[in-house]
């Protein structure tokens, strides 16, 4: 059993289940554990109390730390096999840092990331390489995520160069062409360069690269926000089809709440490095209990002026505070209309609020608010 650090209260809830830690004594055992299949719906990736603090330093030669930007400040969640978990939040809430931590592109300050029971923050060598093969990423900006000096064939084929065991050398060209076909591009484009493609086509190339190693998890960091509206739908549909075809689990990070609702099975809402609320898409969108989620949902522009006029709007005042200097207690309290003295003293924990404890209602899901109450802001009142 894993030691679940400080968040023991959450163990009972469905979003964070127990971690079955695999004690691997050798690299081979670790690789074997990583290669083992996971049943659909079982947790495949478990994040526990993950933190990333970027030190703020002063001085050129003799640097000293004067503070820290708490980009991610203790979040926990599970990703189940075959599902899409959406993470929403405003800029600076730490959602992209979560993606980088999960990809091992940044080192976590604290906390664990269990992939099939192995803490990947502690892996290295062969085992880490095996994890990398199974967790892939699709980036936000299709204009900077492809090397402009490489052909499409080299870009999509690069995963095979790094992991030669996946495809024998003679087979690679065919594999790359297959991948191009899978993402809806002409296989004859293999010798072209990225600048010869439009944004939507480039994003398809990025997705093909992500699929090359046959991964189990794909982390998507704002995969469509840089695309034109008419192309976004194509890419979203493609991603949904690929999920079914290749049995993928998605962690879908975005700021666009409508797209997240469309693609996700479960949704987590982040604010200032913490998870404010997490639950199924229905729980979050139709029965939000955290005031931040409610404000966020009510602020989404709806392309329907009539529905718009009948909707309640909550307009938050002020801006997101700096993560270098977050408010005490509940970090949302400076913009919250419900805030009371308690909020500045006591940090609310992410758990099913007491009022909903034992209540059989969609509102009974984890929400980090002292004064959680249900409010339907999406549908016309």
């Amino acid at each position: 059993m894993a030691e679940l650090s400080k968040n023991d209260e959450q163990e009972a809830t469905p979003n964070v289940s127990d971690v079955e830690v695999v004690d691997a004594h050798s690299e081979t055992e670790a690789v074997a554990a990583i290669e083992a299949p996971v049943d659909r719906g079982e947790p495949i990736l478990q994040v526990r109390n993950l933190k990333k603090h970027f030190p703020l330093t002063q001085g050129i030669l003799f640097k000293r730390q004067i503070g820290a930007v708490k980009a991610v400040d203790g979040i926990s969640f599970d990703l189940h096999q075959g599902e899409t978990l959406g993470i929403v939040g405003e800029s600076g809430c730490g959602k992209s840092t979560v993606a980088k931590l999960l990809m091992n592109l940044e080192r976590a300050t604290a906390g664990e990331i269990f992939y099939k029971g192995q803490d990947i923050t502690k892996l290295s060598g062969r085992a880490l390489k095996a994890v990398r093969r199974n967790i892939q990423m699709v980036f936000q900006d299709p204009y900077t995520s492809l090397n402009p000096r490489m052909t499409v064939g080299d870009i999509i084929g690069e995963p095979f160069d790094i992991h030669p065991e996946v495809a024998p050398k003679g087979d690679r060209r065919r594999k790359v062409q297959e991948l191009l076909d899978v993402v809806g591009l002409n296989p004859e484009y293999i010798n072209r360069y990225p600048h010869q493609f439009s944004g939507g086509q480039r994003q398809r190339i990025g997705i093909a690269r992500g699929l090359a190693l046959n991964p189990e998890i794909i982390i998507c960091d704002e995969p469509v926000s840089a695309l034109d509206v008419s192309v976004q739908a194509q890419v979203i549909n493609l991603m949904e089809r690929l999920q079914d075809e290749f049995n993928l689990s998605y962690l879908f990070i975005a700021h666009d709440l409508s797209i997240v609702r469309h693609i996700s099975d479960r949704v987590g809402v982040m604010y200032l490095g913490k998870m404010a609320e997490i639950g199924s898409d229905e729980q979050i969108y139709d029965h939000p209990t955290h005031p931040y989620t409610q404000a966020l949902l009510s602020a989404v522009p709806v392309p329907d002026p009539e529905a718009r006029e009948h909707r309640e709007r909550i307009i938050l005042t002020g801006d997101v505070p700096s993560p270098a200097n977050p408010p005490s207690g509940c970090s949302f309290r400076t913009r919250c209309w419900k805030a009371q003295d308690k909020c500045s003293v006591e940090t609310p924990l992410l758990a099913v609020p007491e009022v909903f404890m034992g209540v059989d209602s969609p509102a009974a899901h984890e929400s980090a608010c002292h004064f959680a109450e249900e409010k339907n802001v999406v549908h016309a009142a």
Binding site: E90, S91, S198, G199, G200, Q201, D228, V229, S230, V231, Q232, A233, Q234, I236, N237, E240, H255, L257, S258, I259, R261, H262, D281, Y285, A295, L296, L297, A299, V300, P301, V302, P303, D304, P305, E306, A307, R308, E309, H310, R311, E312, R313, I314, I315, L316, T317, G318, D319, V320, R335, C336, W337, A339, V378, H379, A381
Partner: protein, 352 residues
């Protein structure tokens, strides 16, 4: 702390300035860019007009020519490579394209102001916000330093920047994205222009801040009875504030309509496709409708209707004849005021 409004009344389209004609009228505007690969036709015959107190939203994707049109109005296109082979831009009846540089400069800033998407790069990082705001008054109205500063504080108050007097000497980087965009708005408002052009004013902002900025813009517009051209790609943002909408595709206006009409009954397959392809917050569908294909290459705009390779309704005529922007009517022939569609099959699209 927070304002909860039960319903936000959307201003009814006003017939502002009906007596003295529209504030700004763009007639058959063409803009092309000469590049190494050939001539990119960015704007191909755009017509629109804005009256005082009216909000026109110009909606389009990247490459639709929506921003280029605005830059042509402001006179801030780089020429060359850009060229305006034909067209007129009438401000209060006078063609700005025929004016001298000096005359245009007078209109720009004093009569027409622009708000850009990226507030950080539009503000000078080494000058304080108060100085930059005050500069408008010093240069155009010859006020003293002290008076200009007082005016700057007043403006910052008006765009609801908290503690304006204390922050007037701060530098742009000390403000958050939303606050910077407010400063941009304040700057545009400084000389109380007749018309404001806002190019994607909220695209770089977070949702919760977007709503604040859009509301501010709408309030100020009402207060000053200004004309507003709102350029955006976001169908949701438009729905909130616009009176009428012009949808652009490949440098042409393909549809125009009062805001409610457009969303209820689009008369162009492109508009319909766009509306269908955005996921809705209050519905969870199985699959999104996707407009097939890619936005056109401006160097090689398809013949006939530019949308024909992507259109589900395309027939032979669409590949040969360019559809004109024609008035749209009800099935019984009564004309729908302010509506137009550039589709050979608009009847089928709106009534079908």
């Amino acid at each position: 702390m927070t304002i909860i409004e039960d319903s936000v009344p959307v201003p009814a389209p006003r017939k502002g300035g009906a007596d003295d004609g529209p504030l700004l009228e763009v007639r058959d505007l063409h803009v092309e860019f000469h590049t190494r690969e050939g001539v990119a036709k960015a704007v191909n015959g755009v017509n629109y007009s804005v009256s005082a107190g009216e909000t026109l939203a110009v909606l389009g994707e990247s490459g639709s020519g929506k921003s280029v049109t605005a830059q042509a109005i402001m006179g801030i296109l780089d020429m060359p490579p850009a060229r305006i082979p034909q067209g007129e831009i009438l401000f209060r009846g006078q063609d700005m394209l025929k004016m001298s540089g000096e005359e245009r400069r007078k209109i720009r800033g004093q009569k027409i102001a622009m708000i850009f998407q990226d507030a950080l790069s539009s503000l000078n990082p080494v000058l304080s916000v108060g100085y930059q705001l005050g500069e408008m008054f010093r240069v155009h109205q010859g006020l003293s330093k002290k008076e200009a500063k007082a005016k700057a504080i007043e403006l910052m108050d008006r765009v609801k920047i908290p503690a304006a007097a204390a922050r007037v000497n701060d530098y742009p980087h000390q403000f958050s994205g939303g606050m910077r965009q407010r400063i941009m708005i304040a700057m545009a408002l400084a000389l109380e222009p007749d018309l404001i052009i806002a190019d994607e004013p909220t695209t770089a902002l977070d949702v919760t801040v977007q709503a604040q900025v859009m509301d501010l813009l709408a309030d100020l517009q009402r207060e000053y009875n200004m004309g507003l051209i709102l350029i955006t790609h976001d169908l949701g943002v438009v729905a909130d504030v616009a009176d009428k909408i012009a949808v652009m595709y490949a440098g042409r206006i393909v549809e125009r309509a009062p805001v409610h009409e457009l969303y209820k009954r689009p008369a162009h397959p492109y508009t319909r496709g766009l509306l269908d392809s955005i996921p809705r917050l209050d519905q969870k569908g199985q699959e999104l409708y996707a407009i097939k294909g890619l936005p056109p290459n401006l160097l090689r705009i398809p013949t006939g209707c530019a949308f024909n390779p992507r259109c589900p309704k395309a027939q032979d005529i669409c590949r040969t004849d360019v559809p004109a922007l024609l008035p749209v009517s009800e099935q019984d022939g009564t004309e729908l005021v302010g509506r137009g569609s550039a589709c050979h099959f608009w009847k089928e699209t709106i009534h079908g």
